[in-house]
Amino acid sequence: MTSTPIVRLEHVGKKYGKVVSLKDVTLEIGANEIVGLIGDNGAGKSTLIKVLTGVEPPTSGTLYVRGLKIDASSYTVKEAHKLRIETVYQDSSLGEKQPLWRNFFVGRPITNRFGFIDVKAEKKVAEHIMRSTIGFRGVGIDVDTPVSRLSGGERQGVAIGRAMHFDSDLIVLDEPTVALALKEVQKVLDFIRSIKSGGRSCIYIEHNIHHVHEVCDRLVVLDRGEIALDAPTSSMTYLELTNFLMSLHGRRPAAAAH
């Protein structure tokens, strides 16, 4: 982590009306590291990601990408893409009724100067990503298959493959294993390892602490909008991590009641 971090958040806060979702978050994501982001529902994980990827502007604080200060007002999803930051959302990364090839290129299609899409070229590249980057050899899946016919794990693979194809340095995975069968979860964890071996970084948001502990280099715990822990995975065993998370619950009056 001697080089400039890919992203750096400094004292970032976010309010929705009177509701404080993030307060004073300072966080760095370095090159080629997998960071696990843990926290309860409402801890601010989603908000943090939205701020990071240009979906919503922060109410206070600053954001740096590769050392450059980002102007919050002009920072959009498109800008984030240009800065090679990509998000893979659990349920909202792919258009279900659309074929795979459209899903690979949506938002940045290969077009001529009149805006007409070069379908042949897109299909060819999509085919290549499927075969090599994400290693799809499933029977009956080709670039014309609509996403609705893919399994949950395959969908995550498509979205991750897309992010890697567009040369993202930082891929954000928003709870990619929710509602997946065990076999599918293993596929997704393999995709995450391929992000690391591809020399890229990843923020991995997850409820299942076990998965996080298994693949991540560093752990960040969010609690009620603040960072409660930021430590290398190697410094903590799985048990220590669980105990730490339980102690957070203990501090909470509502949770202490039961």
Partner: protein, 340 residues
């Protein structure tokens, strides 16, 4: 027959029906054959088809525009008033100032501006488009009645002009406007299936959240969509005016239900995210041939709406069932009972 069960993708019949629009074209041909039997005098001659091709283009062009709107998960009910407004602008400018091509441009520009305003109302006021455009139907319709003072206009002299030959002339007996409608159909097909704008509409209609996270400028695309719809409605209005050489404030009202029916009969998903341009072309033809065919078969004219309604319900249900049988509660129920 045994082979057909084994490999459905290799079945030539199944493959044929997978080509966009073939099932609906098949339904259309069946209807033509049916009417040839019930009304041979009319449907065995060419005249009925020629008048057909003269009258179908305006609603077909509107239906093509509406197909894109429905693909994006939206609705536009304001088009009858846009048709009337464009028709009024064209007639008034021709009658008072002898303008022809300029009158056309002015009429198209009027429709485009109206569509743009519709888009702003839908996106910036956040009113669901079904309601917003229903309000705009009244608003624009009221405005054109006020501007035209409730009167109708007749421009029979337009028939001698070049512009009339270009948009409502005949090549032999063949009505030119049908070629314009086909041209618009090809264009809309290209936009939906091969242009980035069409792709944005597909994703917006499929899942708004996805469209947002992949960086589609949703409001801007929707405004473009309603603007295009306004332009196409205005073009339809001008075609209608040239064919009938009149303006009256209710000019487009007759299209309201038939155009909506044409889009859904054509197989465009009511749930958004998918659309069939070829289907809309045949959907428009089917609606028109039911109207003409029933009357020619001697069924009282009052029945036509009933039958269009019937075809509408059946085809939308069929299309939904093809998309996903579980979307039709009746079928879902039957299927779960059959499994038990």
């Amino acid at each position: 027959m045994a082979h057909a069960d084994k490999g459905p993708p290799n079945n030539p019949i199944a493959a044929f029906f997978k080509i966009e629009g073939t099932p609906i074209a098949f339904v259309f041909l069946l209807l033509v054959l049916l009417f040839m039997l019930t009304a041979p005098r009319a449907f065995m001659g060419f005249r009925v088809y020629m008048s057909f091709m003269a009258n179908v283009p305006p609603p077909m062009i509107i239906a093509l525009g509406l197909t894109l709107v429905v693909v994006a998960g939206e609705m536009d009910l304001s088009f009858p008033s846009v048709v009337a407004f464009a028709s009024y602008v064209f007639c008034a400018l021709y009658q008072n100032y002898d303008m022809t091509w300029l009158a056309l441009l002015a009429a198209l520009a009027t429709g485009t501006v109206m569509g743009f305003v519709n888009g702003l109302v839908v996106t910036k006021l956040g009113i669901p488009s079904l309601i917003a455009t229903l309000a705009m139907l009244f608003l624009w319709g009221g405005l054109v009645t006020v501007v035209s003072n409730g009167a109708s206009l007749a421009i029979p002299d337009i028939e001698g002009e070049l512009i009339h030959s270009v948009f409502a002339g005949r090549i032999g007996v063949f009505p030119v406007q049908f070629l314009w409608a086909l041209g618009v159909a090809v264009l809309i097909w290209m936009v939906l299936n091969r242009h980035r704008f069409g792709e944005s509409l597909l994703f917006i209609g499929d899942n708004l959240k996805v469209a947002k996270v992949v960086g589609i400028a949703i409001d801007r695309e929707k405004i473009k969509l309603f603007t295009l719809m306004g332009l196409l409605s205005a073009f339809a209005g001008v075609l209608l005016t040239m064919e009938t050489t009149t303006y009256f404030s209710q000019a487009g009202m007759g299209y309201l239900l038939t155009v909506v029916a044409a889009v859904f009969i054509g197989g465009t998903s009511i749930f958004g995210g998918a659309g069939k341009v070829v289907g809309t072309v045949f959907g428009s033809l089917i609606v028109a041939i039911i109207e003409a065919g029933l009357v020619a078969s001697g069924v009282a004219g009052f029945w036509t709406r009933f039958f269009i309604g019937l075809v509408f319900i059946v085809s939308v249900t069929m299309n939904a069932a093809i998309e996903d049988p579980d979307k039709v509660p009746l079928l879902k129920d039957l299927r779960s009972r059959a499994r038990r």
